[in-house]
């Protein structure tokens, strides 16, 4: 093949690559653009400040405050519970165990696999636990399902963050006579911004997921007061309202989608800021 032909081939593929880049990166703007264009006309103060009133699902007064608060409770509860479980696990795997030990290797593999398990499977599994325990669809059930879903995210993220801490820090602490737990506390202090990033990631995932809460959290027009009451969630509210034939109710679905998107974008922005901070935090 002549050099000219070879160069042409390269030029063609390079153009294709640029096109692929533009297409893939523009998909984000297409999604956000669609949601904003659809949702903005229906977004008003009532949407975020009121719970559904009588006849809400026929297009009458009200908002989705119940779903917003429900989602915050659910994702918040699950994140706290998830942290309580995953911080000890990642401390143990990374600080207590030697690098390359069988347990730490198989645990990391297990978490990689659990990370890939879809939320519908977690939902179904949590549901069968609930049937077994006799728990009704409630805030608690939803928190259990979402906790299962976000633990792999938390463990994997914390893992990555702890890996950025120089081994010398741990060794210095140990050599000064600290126990492993005391050394772990030093490391945990060092990765604080990273822990916040993990929290935001998990919270974002928890607040946006539908399949895990579909049969575990139930749905309610009221803001839950106790943990055993059913709770509405924002994604589910979008899903339900979208299925309505009434235009006003559909409009609220678009507005709810916009609210959810804004919450997610705020979370993404915050975690980006924190990630930059963590980089500066490096020793």
């Amino acid at each position: 093949m002549g050099i000219k032909k070879r160069k042409t081939e390269e030029a063609i593929f390079k153009t294709l690559m640029v096109l692929a880049c533009i297409l893939v990166s523009s998909s984000l703007f297409l999604i956000i653009g669609t949601i904003v264009a659809k949702g903005l006309p229906y977004l008003n103060w009532d949407m975020v400040s009121k719970v559904p009133q009588g006849g809400f699902y026929l297009g009458k007064e009200g908002g989705v405050l119940n779903a917003i608060i429900g989602s915050l409770y659910l994702a918040g509860g699950a994140t706290v519970l998830g942290l309580l479980i995953s911080i000890p696990i990642s401390v143990y795997l990374n600080i207590y165990l030697k690098k390359g030990s069988l347990l730490s290797k198989s645990a990391k593999l297990a978490y990689d696999v659990l990370f890939g398990i879809p939320s519908i499977v977690y939902g179904a599994f949590a549901f069968s636990i609930m049937v077994w325990l006799g728990v009704r669809a409630s805030l608690l059930g939803g928190i259990i399902a979402v906790t299962l879903l976000i633990i792999p995210i938390l463990v994997r993220t914390l893992d990555e963050v702890i890996a950025t801490v120089p081994k010398e820090l741990k060794h210095a602490a140990l050599s000064l006579g600290a126990t492993r737990w005391e050394a772990a506390k030093v490391v945990l202090k060092q990765i604080r911004p990273g822990i916040y990033t993990a929290i935001l990631l998990a919270f974002g995932r928890g607040i946006g997921d539908v399949a895990a809460v579909l049969f575990t959290a139930g749905f309610s027009d009221n803001i839950p007061k106790y943990i055993d009451e059913p709770a509405a969630t924002l994604p589910l509210a979008i899903f339900f309202q979208l299925g309505s034939p009434i235009p006003e109710v559909q409009g609220r679905a678009y507005a709810s989608a916009l609210i959810l998107t804004i919450i997610i974008l705020v979370i993404v922005f915050l975690s980006h800021v924190l990630a930059t901070k963590q980089n500066k935090h490096k020793i």
Partner: protein, 297 residues
């Protein structure tokens, strides 16, 4: 013994138990789902569940064939759309683009990973469905509602962009520079080097990324449920509606308790998803870990 050492020991043991418990959790999910699905196996063989098409829970007929086909169609369409695009993009970002461009684009793509599935569903309904209905389908068939396996595949493709782009670029970055330099010094153009050296070397990693993306698409529920049409008939073209397995579970969970074996059948669907995705993830993670070990450590 010193109180500090006792504290350390207690904490160590507690964390060990927690870690072991969480690892065995993988199996617990499988066992739990199997336990709920088991009643279905009395009276139904695996083969009959997979190969029959009739879905009539009230008559005790559970044919999963249409749902399995629905899942396969959307997943294959998704990967067929996403893989070439993401491969080209990853090559561009790692081999051609300036670091500045990479720094802007990669975080942008990662934001996609944070967008909730239901938002993808809404986007699918208002963006992809009309395009399929108004522009694509009329070229080939007379009428389509726009709620098709193609629509589901496209939405899923966008959902798999972040995972594909980030993993493939990481795999490409592990290719030793010496290898590329050797090829370039022999007179190969940059593209020829990529085609014949880089991609060849990166092939297992790219396949692993593709398998991960497939399993992501496989289990995605709500977005697919919103745009696929949910007709329990095996699709025969990209413009047919489909009814993937996760959508089946999500759509029927409310009413399943009243009909015998219905919940077992849905749990069986969940078990099937779990099993396949578990295998896919395990294999591709092992491949990816090996690549990482070989080049980074």
């Amino acid at each position: 013994m010193n109180i500090r050492i006792i504290k350390d020991k207690i904490i160590a043991n507690a964390m060990l138990i927690l870690s072991v418990a969480s690892v065995s959790f993988v199996f617990l999910i499988g066992i739990g789902l199997y336990w709920r699905a088991a009643p279905l196996f009395e009276g139904h063989t695996l083969f009959s569940l997979f190969s029959t098409s009739e879905w009539a829970p009230s008559k005790g007929k559970f044919g999963f064939y249409p749902f399995i086909m629905g899942t396969l169609w959307v997943t294959l369409i998704a990967i067929a759309v996403a893989l070439p695009l993401c491969l080209l993009m990853a090559i561009y970002l790692t081999e051609y683009a300036k670091p500045g461009i990479r720094k802007v684009i990669l975080p942008l793509v990662n934001i996609l990973a944070g967008i909730p599935p239901v938002i993808y569903g809404v986007w699918g309904i208002f963006f992809v469905v009309p395009i399929v209905r108004e522009y694509l389908a009329p070229q080939f068939i007379e009428y389509s509602s726009g709620y098709t396996v193609l629509t589901g595949g496209v939405v899923l493709a966008v959902m798999t962009f972040p995972i594909l782009v980030s993993i493939v670029s990481e795999v490409l970055r592990t290719i030793p520079k010496e290898l590329k330099d050797a090829s370039l010094s022999l007179g190969a153009t940059k593209w020829e080097t990529i085609k014949k050296v880089v991609l060849k070397r990166a092939f297992p990693g790219i396949m692993a990324a593709a398998v991960l993306a497939v399993s992501r698409a496989f289990g995605e529920t709500i977005a697919v449920l919103m745009v696929c049409g949910n007709v329990p008939v095996a699709p025969t073209s990209v413009f047919d509606a489909g009814y993937p397995l996760p959508a089946l579970i999500a759509n029927n969970f409310g009413e399943m308790m009243s009909i015998p074996l219905y919940d077992s059948a849905l749990m069986f669907a969940a078990l099937l998803l779990f099993f396949i995705i578990f295998l896919f993830n395990l294999v591709s993670r092992i491949i990816l870990n090996r690549i990482e070990y070989k080049f980074i450590s």
